[in-house]
Structures are given as structure tokens and as C-alpha cells.
């Protein structure tokens, strides 16, 4: 993957080739497919029953039906979106195939776009059954959120790509010894993104930090919609602006880490 090539001429053919590569890989391994559905399904069932229990004992949750299940599904979009991106990247490291790709005409931006497409495909395989389970078991129709769902989804998936690009860059630079970053980095956002509670719960100085994260706007927006029945477009626009900055920053960091990997010879020894 050439660095200069970032600057001119994207090839859809090369992006398709990479998506096809990951599609072949998914189809060749039923445990990989099962794993995509297994964890989200387990999550929704566990949290769904918890929501049922709480709503029987708490007036607030009885009125604000679905906030917990909605938050679980949206968190899964964020988390699985990043995993879907990063696992496809890790597949190249595990297969020791990165050298072949780096030496081919594939450009970094094309590689990253193919990982983004795969994150959406993997997400669809995992989250659609999850939403159907929520409907079937708990009567929560995720799609009844309607058009705001598109704004929620886009903002969450953009954040997941930024985190995925950043984590992949770290693994590229530091080898598979840094693999655990891929699995844990998103959890660092969890307390600050205010998934299950409003931002007002946080101390004021931490609220400032929380508002720097696009998912915070999405979860606040979801609560406004489910509890107050108001769609806060202003929150979505704020999140979108921060996401644009994060995507540019993560891509720049990825290129810097790629260059550092080439300087340090890490691409020749991409093991631990």
C-alpha cells in the first residue's frame, strides 16, 4: 500500500477485492458466523429480562420503556462496529498476509474503506437478529424509532470506525502484542458515553469530557426520544461534527503509525 497513493485515484475494484476476501473468509468458517450472532443475542436476552424486572418495580422505567434495551442495542452497534472493523484487520495479521497487501497496489484508504464495509456487514449479521429477539421476547420494536435511528446509527458507526482505525494503527506499529487494545479500547468510552444514565449524573468536570465523545450525544438523544418523545437534531449535528474531526485525526494517526512501522521494520515481523 503506497503512501502517496492516498492522494489520487481510489479503485472500487480493489475495494471490492478486499471485501470479497473477507466475505470468503466469513463463509469459510461457521464458528466466525455463529460468534457474530452469539454475543449480541446473549446480551439482549440478559438485559431485556433485567429491564422487565426493573420496570415492574420502578415507575420511571415503566414509563420509559425500552431505554435499557435501546441503549444495549445502540452500544452493540458502537462496540460491534469497531470489532467488525478491527477483526477484519487482525485477520490479515493472523494470516501473515499484510506484507502481500502492502506490496500490492492497494492503497491505505482503500484498505480502510473495505474494513468499514465489512464492519457494516458483520454488524448487520449480529445486530439484526438481536433487534428481532428484542421484538419477539420483550416487545421492543427498535425500528419504531424511525428516521432518528439513521442519525443514531451513522454517528455510532463513524465513532466505531475512528476507534477501529486508531486501534488497527497501534497493532500495525506494535505487532500482535498490542492485540488486546482492539478488544478493550472501546470499553474506555463506556463510562463517559453515558450509555445507561444521563450526562447530568457525572461530576461537572467529567461532563465536559463526556461531551467530547459523539456517542454521548447519541445516548442522550435516544433518551430524549424514548422518554420525552423529542428528537434532538442539534445533538446529532454536534456528534457529526466531532465524528468528522475524529475520522480525520484517526486516519492521520494511522498513516503516521504505518510510516513508523516501516521505519522500524515492524511490517517484516508482525508477530508479538
Amino acid at each position: 500500500m503506497s503512501e502517496i497513493a492516498v492522494h489520487h485515484g481510489l479503485s472500487l475494484n480493489r475495494i471490492n477485492a478486499m471485501v470479497l476476501r473477507y466475505w470468503y473468509l466469513l463463509l469459510s468458517s461457521w464458528p466466525r458466523l455463529l460468534e457474530l450472532v452469539y454475543w449480541p443475542a446473549l446480551q439482549i436476552i440478559t438485559w431485556g429480562f433485567l429491564q422487565n424486572y426493573i420496570s415492574q418495580t420502578s415507575g420511571f422505567f415503566a414509563q420509559a420503556g425500552g431505554t435499557l434495551i435501546g441503549a444495549v442495542i445502540l452500544w452493540d452497534i458502537l462496540f460491534r462496529g469497531q470489532l467488525g472493523f478491527s477483526i477484519s484487520f487482525l485477520e490479515e495479521m493472523w494470516a501473515r498476509n499484510l506484507g502481500n497487501l502492502m506490496m500490492s497496489p492497494l492503497k491505505p484508504i482503500e484498505f480502510l474503506i473495505s474494513l468499514m464495509i465489512m464492519s457494516v456487514i458483520r454488524l448487520a449479521i449480529g445486530v439484526i437478529p438481536m433487534t428481532l429477539l428484542a421484538l419477539f421476547f420483550f416487545g421492543f420494536n427498535f425500528y419504531a424509532i424511525g428516521l432518528p435511528l439513521i442519525a443514531f446509527f451513522c454517528n455510532l458507526i463513524f465513532t466505531s470506525w475512528s476507534v477501529g482505525i486508531f486501534a488497527s494503527g497501534l497493532v500495525l506499529r506494535n505487532g500482535l502484542g498490542a492485540e488486546s487494545i482492539v478488544w478493550t479500547l472501546m470499553f474506555a468510552l463506556m463510562p463517559l458515553a453515558c450509555i445507561y444514565y444521563p450526562v447530568s449524573v457525572l461530576p461537572s468536570w467529567l461532563q465536559t469530557v463526556a461531551w467530547m465523545l459523539p456517542p454521548t450525544y447519541v445516548f442522550e438523544g435516544m433518551r430524549a426520544l424514548l422518554i420525552d418523545h423529542v428528537f434532538r437534531a442539534d445533538l446529532m449535528v454536534h456528534a457529526l461534527v466531532i465524528n468528522a474531526v475524529l475520522l480525520i485525526a484517526s486516519f492521520s494517526i494511522f498513516l503516521a503509525l504505518l510510516r513508523s512501522a516501516k521505519r522500524n521494520g515492524s511490517l517484516l515481523s508482525s508477530g508479538e
Binding site: S2, E3, I4, A5, V6, H7, H8, S11, N13, R14, N16, A17, M18, L20, R21, Y24, L25, S28, S29, E91, A95, R96, N97, L98, G99, N100, L101, M102, M103, S104, P105, L106, K107, R259, K262, R263, N264, G265, L267, L268, S269
Partner: protein, 264 residues
């Protein structure tokens, strides 16, 4: 960000770097305190086969990796097919290819799937025909629809060679291309590489520990030791200089520090 107008230009026609397949000048690579490649310069003519020899840690892999753009040099310059590397890698990567024991083909994908993907990455025209041709040339037909991970070491080497030839490259970089092959298959692969060079006027740079292979294939041999070029000439002239009958004996002389005069 650079614009298209700012793309690195190829070397001018009067510059010898333009006519060479590879032109390396004063190449240095330092990893922290280790000088892996130390002021290496050579020029490789188009259509030639050159062997890069040296013991472990001699700097062969690092040199090849810098030519490929996988490692950035500390200093020095590299031109590949007339273009500066890595600045103009976008112009060059589609015209070269490589095979190395440091990389694998994805194990779960079949041979045909792997070749399809790499063929698309290299924008190969009539890809299905090209894959059929490679399957025939490299005798892959019996296992072309088998997962790469289920192949023997020799079969994997042939598949890696097929991937390296998928785009009919002008420049082929090979690291131990016949490792893990039985003598018959290895001989057959060498014959194929010779034919490929002749039919495509391709340039091949080959790192190998198989001295017979180098003697048979290469027009020229570059011997490296501790990051420097120890010798650089045709196999016959190098053997004559060391007063040896085989390159293997020359290799041992170099590795054990016996100089040309005292080699006998």
C-alpha cells in the same frame, strides 16, 4: 496532501537509474544501534537475474524490503523501474511482485479464491484465463479449489509463486523461492523462472541459500556480509577470484572471514 501534479517524477532518460530495473545508491538502514544495511550501492539491469547471497543477518531481507517499500531507509536512495521509492510506489507496485517466507497466503481461502483476490488487486485483465494459465504452468489444477492451509509446503510455495506471477510483473523479488520443494519440483520451478524471464524480459532479484540454484539461475551475484557488499560479479568470475569450484565454497570463505587471496 500532495496533489497529482506533485507526484514524484521518474528519473530522466539520461539518468542511468532510468534504464536500470533497480538502482540503489548509498543505502543505509539503522535499527536503534544496529546497522543492518551499511552504504550499499548496486544497479541491476533490466532482464537480468541477480542473486543476493549472505548468511543470516547479512542484510539481504532488509535490502529487499527497502526496495519493496516495506521498510524505509535511514538514508540513501532507491529507484525501481525508473521511479524513486517509496515516493512513487503507486507507479511501480502494479508492475512488480514478490514471494517471501515472511508472508503467507490466507489459509482458509482456496487457491482459486486467493488468486482471484490478488488478481483483482493487481487489476489483471481476463483474470479467469490468467488463473487457468498459472494453474496449468505451475501444476496447481489438482488442488486449486482446496484451502491454502490444507496444502503441503511444496504446494504452498507453488501457490505463492503463482501469486507472484499473477500480474506478469516486470520485476520479481524472490526470497528463497524453492525452499521446502523436493529437488525435482525445485528444478522445475527454476526452469519456469528462467522461461518467464526470457518470455517477459523480466528482472528477477533472488535471495537464496541454495548455491546451486544461484549458480544455475543468476547472471550476477551480490554477496553481503554484516550489511555491506562483500563481492559483486558473475558467478564464474567470483568463483575464479576465490579460486573455488562452487559458490557454496565461496559462501563459506566469506562467512568464515577467509579473504580472496588466502581462500585456498
Amino acid at each position: 496532501m500532495d496533489q497529482i501534479e506533485n507526484r514524484p517524477a521518474p528519473a530522466s532518460a539520461s539518468d542511468p537509474a532510468a534504464s536500470a530495473a533497480i538502482d540503489v545508491a548509498h543505502l543505509v538502514k539503522v535499527y536503534k544501534t544496529t546497522r543492518a544495511v551499511d552504504d550499499v550501492s548496486f544497479r541491476i539491469a533490466r532482464g537480468s537475474i541477480t542473486g543476493l547471497l549472505g548468511g543470516n543477518g547479512a542484510g539481504k531481507t532488509t535490502t529487499i524490503a527497502m526496495i519493496m517499500g516495506l521498510v524505509l531507509p535511514t538514508s540513501g536512495r532507491i529507484h525501481v523501474l525508473g521511479f524513486p521509492m517509496p515516493e512513487a510506489s503507486a507507479e511501480v507496485l502494479g508492475r512488480m511482485n514478490f514471494e517471501s517466507p515472511y508472508v503467507d497466503m490466507p489459509m482458509r481461502l482456496t487457491v482459486r479464491q486467493n488468486l482471484t483476490i490478488f488478481g483483482r488487486l493487481y487489476a489483471v485483465r481476463n483474470l479467469a484465463d490468467r488463473i487457468d494459465q498459472l494453474a496449468s504452468d505451475l501444476d496447481l489444477r489438482d488442488f486449486i479449489d482446496r484451502a491454502n492451509g490444507k496444502l503441503s509446503a511444496g504446494q504452498k510455495t507453488r501457490v505463492a509463486l503463482a501469486k507472484a506471477l499473477i500480474n506478469e510483473p516486470d520485476l520479481l523479488l524472490l526470497d528463497e523461492p524453492t525452499a521446502s520443494l523436493d529437488p525435482d519440483t525445485a528444478d522445475w520451478v527454476r526452469q519456469h523462472l528462467e522461461n518467464y524471464r526470457r518470455s517477459h524480459n523480466a528482472t528477477i532479484l533472488l535471495a537464496s541459500h541454495n548455491m546451486l540454484e544461484v549458480e544455475r539461475l543468476c547472471d550476477r551475484v551480490i554477496i553481503m556480509k554484516r550489511g555491506k557488499i562483500e563481492d559483486d560479479d558473475s558467478p564464474d568470475r567470483i568463483m575464479a577470484r576465490y579460486n573455488r569450484d562452487t559458490l557454496e565454497e565461496v559462501f563459506l570463505d566469506v562467512a568464515r572471514g577467509r579473504n580472496r587471496e588466502s581462500a585456498t
